[in-house]
Symmetry: C2
Subunit: 551 residues, 2 copies
């Protein structure tokens, strides 16, 4: 791309992930020959992506333009904003990467798990209100926004063609746990000076009103803990440092020692505590160190808010935790909502807890959880303060983006133009224009076990077919006398009659083929076709059929 | 069981299905040597029951006591109350089966699909307020209850030891579509005469307040239809005759012809219409008969309320319907909630509709659906009218049963005893006692394709394993020179290096085994173990491994 005359200058806004979806958030901004990157998150797979552990953004565009990347900023430490970095960073040049203390603390923990050394990256700790210069053209003015993790930031991006305000993930919590509310001053100032583009969090654009404050949830949690007679178990997102702080405060107030259970819960707590983000009277104890504490003197914070089978809460609910057994008199609080797709798993855990006879508290029946994302009235407040000329609803599926766009359209001074964008769209922004001018490769790379990108949609299709009807392997041995062996997995219960019939059908096809001296592939195909039709007819099923010929 | 003296007489209440779950409702009542059966429903599989189409109750107890069965009553025509009958009836003796007109109409349709002839069964049509004598000991007094399908009934069961009130599925709708509210007179009278046991619908025992009336939903639907400019598409449960009637009324009022799309929708509508349960000004038309109707003159009622991939709404949303393409200006209404487990599928459809640019309406954002089950205030009303001595919360998972029990316990005159029962519990009821005295076989029989009961949990386990990591088949051919062939499905993308390494590991194990002259099974096990360890180490995965030896 050639240098342009000033009048032709433009900013390219390129959502690499997180646009039209919730998860794997990542942005690239390009101005002339400089690129600035924001975040690098992962997403969790849909139910139909069988066996996939997680999804990371495709970074072809950044790899192709690696030399242009001048810097990287991280808005906060959630998985959907930094979780892909251990996979991505080794494939891109080392550039300054700016983030707040907790964000970098969580990232360092993650990088070290992957064996990425401190000298392989260029991490630079900044305050959430820092002003950063990236390359020649980008000035980033960070501002703190309240969310479900400390050290969360939005930013005003100053560029030669105008200002962009990006909210980051946020809610407008008037009573945040750390006493540090959103700093709306920079956004307000930008609004007065003129905002060319607003990029804002659409997650809860369908929810009317205001998202409850963390303080309200803390009060409700404390009320439940206050009336509990026996042990108390609380699960929440391991990364939700504010919530965990409030649970600790409530435990301390009611003279309960806090015990952490579950690897990810302990890991997050250690990082947050070592960096000064958790305020504790007494050191945390482990289950082994509990000693002779009474039931009324303990509170467990444990993993399992999503009903994950190996989590502490699931093991407690199913009675297979090595050290702890729940019993009537215990109180269990799920201070979390199931992420879409996990409803059934969480419901199963809740039912098991009821069956054990513990007292169970969960939203929405009990108000022991609130989202970290802004509801409609908060979104309107941001639109009203920033008064953008153009608007890009982000961090949401199409339903959230479009409802966010409608909110904007209903404002007294609506944006001149709103785009409902997709990952990979190249959005060109000038003082007078805002439109998609092209696309770059985008989408998800599947991570499965140790493999990154070695699973294709074909493979998922095969997994889908086998998950529904199993696999049936036909081995036809041709010499000396043709015969057929049958092995199945996940098909039907052993059934001698059915197996004999299938073998007979297969053998007939093989013998016919050999008599007619057909080519071996054709014989195999004949056997495949004959068995397939027969199995479908008599069982109503379509197992994945694998025909083998052995000469 | 021997005849007892009057003082020792008892009623056995045996939930065959529907207790501790939502689905496959079925009860047996036994008094001395007589059994009466209620309903015979199916359930839909959980996400982890891979490939299973549906679940039906195990009927071992009824088969073992077949000669005692004196009669069968059906409370209403929903799948979770009559859907298992085509599988069950052929395995039990022909006894009088009582049901209201629509219930039997829907059942007949179902039986004929399965090739069960009218003379194979003994269907007896009754009014929803009929009084039936079953065997020597059972008198059943049906009473109409409002629900999401017409002809829905509860009953008072008079037995020699006292009265049982069973609500059936219900809500207390004061403004039902057919103008026929719940008849609470018999329940009230029974309450005055003395109810020994109440069995009541727990589905929505966690929901405060009252469930909205169908009339309220009808008004909201009409408001959406009134303001629509282009075509209108509405999906709802095919069995929800009241809702469909209200949609038809709204269409007629706004001069739109009604077009039905989708096999199950048309089938239900035909049965309901032929039996006089649907009131229509103009005959329904098909898409082919639409002729030159304008967009503003048509309303489609179509399948797809659960995001089912082959349903009409899904095909419309994904742009692969053969005859109709959605476009901006169209209105789509989802007059239904996703059943637990279907949230993701419905969400995907909603997002696609937004992307197409149609106007989409769905609960809870828009109040275009209400449940057919009673909320807490209605449940309390039933408890208050029937004043039972004992209470059995039914039609719910443990969380619903236990919250229902708590509601009952908080009444001014709480039941003397409440049982949280499970399927298969034998609950003995006498004027002075109410307890579980034993169990009968219970649980689910899996239906998959044409197979009933030929899928075991082992097979589901294999499907689960293959759905996550695929299958890898190792064929070791021993003679003349040992070599190993590899075939995989659903494992990883073709990768020559990995395949060669696996083959090498397998061949080494085989050659070692042969050199040491080990038994063939041992050679196969060695190969299996070596490859399993190797694959786990280099890929982090555990595909289902199938080792074959060919001599």
């Amino acid at each position: 791309m050639s240098e342009n005359t000033p009048g032709d200058r433009y900013l390219e806004v390129i959502p690499i992930g997180g646009m039209g979806e919730i998860g794997k958030n990542m942005f690239a901004y390009r101005f002339e020959n400089e690129i600035m990157v924001v975040d690098g998150g992962l997403a969790f797979p849909d139910a139909h992506m069988l066996g996939i552990d997680l999804l990371i953004p495709r970074i072809d565009y950044l790899q192709q333009h690696a030399a242009m990347i001048k810097g990287w900023i991280l808005t906060h430490g959630h998985e959907d904003h930094i979780g892909a970095l251990p996979y991505i960073l080794p494939r891109l040049p080392k550039v300054p990467m700016y983030g707040a203390r907790l964000t970098l603390g969580l990232l360092r923990e993650k990088l070290s798990e992957f064996g990425i050394r401190e000298q392989d990256v260029d991490l630079r700790e900044v305050e959430t209100d820092a002003r950063l210069k990236i390359g020649k053209h980008f000035t980033v003015d960070l501002f703190r926004m309240t969310h479900s993790i400390p050290d969360n930031a939005g930013y005003v991006l100053h560029t030669p063609i105008g200002r962009v305000v990006h909210t980051g993930d946020f809610k407008l919590d008037e009573r945040p746990t750390d006493g540090k509310p959103s700093e709306l001053g920079k956004m307000t100032q930008a609004g007065e000076d003129g905002v060319l583009l607003l990029i804002s969090d659409s997650t809860s654009a369908e929810r009317p009103g205001f998202t409850p404050s963390e303080a309200e949830i803390a009060e409700n949690l404390e009320a439940v803990i206050a009336q509990a007679k026996g042990r108390v178990f609380v699960t929440t997102f391991a990364s939700h440092t504010h919530r965990i702080q409030n649970i600790i405060y409530a435990a301390e107030k009611h003279r309960r020692r806090v015990i952490m259970e579950g690897r990810s819960m302990i890991k997050y707590a250690q990082v947050a505590q070592s960096l000064g983000y958790v305020d504790l009277k007494d050191p945390l104890v482990t289950t082994d160190e509990m000693g002779d504490l009474q039931d009324s003197q303990v509170l467990f914070i444990c993993t399992g808010s999503q009903g994950q089978p190996m989590s502490v809460l699931s093991r407690l609910a199913f009675g297979n935790h090595a050290k702890i057994a729940l019993h009537p008199g215990d109180t269990v609080i799920l201070s979390s909502n199931p992420i879409p797709g996990n409803e059934e798993a969480v419901n199963t855990v809740v039912n098991r807890l009821y069956e054990i006879g513990v007292d169970v508290f969960y939203p929405p029946t009990y108000k022991v959880h609130a989202s970290g994302h802004a509801s409609q009235e908060e979104l309107k407040q941001v639109l009203s303060l920033s008064k953008p000329k153009y608007f890009l609803p982000w961090h949401g599926e199409p339903r959230h983006q479009i409802n966010h766009a409608r909110l904007a359209q209903a404002m007294p001074h609506p944006p001149k133009r709103t785009l409902i964008a997709k990952n990979g769209d190249v959005i060109r922004l000038t003082p007078d224009d805002f439109r998609v001018t092209g696309t770059v490769p985008a989408g998800a790379v599947y991570v499965d076990g140790l493999g990154v990108g070695d699973i294709s949609d074909d493979i998922i299709q095969d997994r889908m077919a086998m998950s529904s009807d199993g696999v049936l392997i036909l081995t036809a041995v041709l010499h000396p006398t043709p015969h057929v062996e049958l092995i199945s997995r996940g098909f039907v219960k052993s059934n001698r009659d059915l197996e004999n019939s299938i073998r007979k059908v297969a053998l007939e096809a093989v013998e016919n083929g050999m008599r007619e001296k057909r080519r071996l592939e054709d014989v195999r195909d004949d056997m495949y076709g004959a068995v397939r039709r027969f199995v479908r007819k008599v069982t109503g099923r379509n197992p994945v059929l694998i025909p083998l010929l052995v000469e």
